[in-house]
């Protein structure tokens, strides 16, 4: 049977993309801050900074909020089994390697 819509969403991939986007936007924000303070050694016009800051902030806010929402949705789907196929009582986080060593790492 097909999984439900919630179960078909690739949460892990979305989380990775959003985390990387947030990290890069955070780095860009740091650079913009340095440039705004005039520590960067370059001459950047205020119009460049006026354009960069809203873009960086928007990416940060969207990726940050998206990250939190996606992680919560993923946990809910996993906890309540919303992603299960009806004829397959497997967990969302299925475990196919129980034969391996018991220790984590």
């Amino acid at each position: 049977m097909a999984k439900s819509l919630m179960g078909r969403i690739p949460y892990a991939k979305i989380v990775i993309v959003l985390a990387v986007a947030f990290a890069i936007a955070l780095g860009l924000c740091g650079v913009t801050f340095v440039l705004a303070l005039g520590r960067g050694g370059g001459s950047f016009s205020s119009s460049f900074l006026n354009m960069a800051v809203p873009v960086e902030l928007t990416v940060m806010v969207l990726s940050g909020v998206g990250l939190v929402v996606t992680v919560i949705a993923w946990v809910v789907v996993a906890a309540f089994g919303l992603g299960r196929e009806q004829d397959d009582p497997q967990r969302q986080f299925d475990n196919k390697d129980d034969e391996g060593p018991k220790h984590p790492g």
Partner: protein, 248 residues
């Protein structure tokens, strides 16, 4: 003295390249060597690593700038910290990523050691990122202490400094060679070799950085020492559980 100057604009470019280079090496290794877990589980592990690394690097980055945080708290400008430069650290990213992976593995029941495929990509990614740190110069807060050695770099203030980023890149090349050799090692050993040696390296190399000290070391060095202790503890627990499993 080698003139380099400070060019912070290149830092995010090199940071993005670092992520891309690390992921490319990871994909190449995975295609060549295969994987001990299936694809959905690998993505789950990667997601745990990404979120853990993001949180860990930011938390330690903020802890590193504790006086700034305290001042921001007092003045009610905590949100302004989002703009603060140098607010991410590799050690925090590695420790947070490691803990994130362990957490998602525990939740999802993955019992294999999944870190070996990350060892070489992390060496490559950090080395590429360090080029960005070097070029960013004084704006990045990762520069070295003044020195009169012939290979000292001038980051724009006319002072010769230890090129600590280049030292680190050379160190990562060595670690990369070690972890990519085809030695028969226990599962997870390559990642532990990488993580343990990198944390030990940071404890040592950070004495060449002019960072504020707390009890003789900077915040990152203390975190690295904590990480080494965790690594030893985890290895000891893993061996004990392995022995018990053999007996049973």
């Amino acid at each position: 003295m080698i003139p380099i100057g400070s060019h912070p604009v290149w830092h995010p470019v090199l940071e993005t390249l670092a992520y891309a280079a690390g992921y490319t090496v990871f994909r190449h290794l995975r295609a060549r060597q295969g994987d001990i877990v299936d694809e959905p589980q690998r993505w789950t592990v990667l997601a745990g690593a990404a979120v853990g690394a993001l949180v860990g690097s930011r938390l330690l980055g903020i802890a590193e700038q504790w006086p700034t945080v305290e001042a921001a708290w007092r003045t009610g400008h905590l949100l302004a910290l989002l703009f603060s430069p140098g607010g991410k650290t590799i050690v925090g990213g590695l420790l947070g990523g490691w803990l994130g992976v362990e957490l998602v593995k525990r939740v999802s029941g993955i019992r294999r050691r999944t870190g070996d495929l990350f060892a070489l990509p992390l060496c490559v990614g950090i080395a590429v990122g360090r080029v960005g740190c070097l070029i960013a110069g004084l704006a990045d807060d990762t520069y070295g202490k003044p020195t009169s050695l012939p290979w000292a770099v001038d980051l724009g203030d006319g002072i010769g400094r230890h090129p600590v980023q280049i030292y680190e890149i050379l160190f990562l090349v060595l670690v990369g060679i070690v972890v990519s050799r085809k030695w028969k090692l226990p599962e997870g050993a390559r990642f532990r070799i990488f993580l343990g040696s990198y944390l030990a390296w940071r404890v040592a190399i950070d004495f060449l950085k002019p960072q504020p000290l707390v009890g003789g070391m900077n915040v990152i060095q203390w975190a690295a020492v904590g990480g080494i202790l965790l690594l030893v503890l985890d290895g000891w627990v893993g061996r004990s559980e392995g022995r018990e499993a053999l007996r049973a």
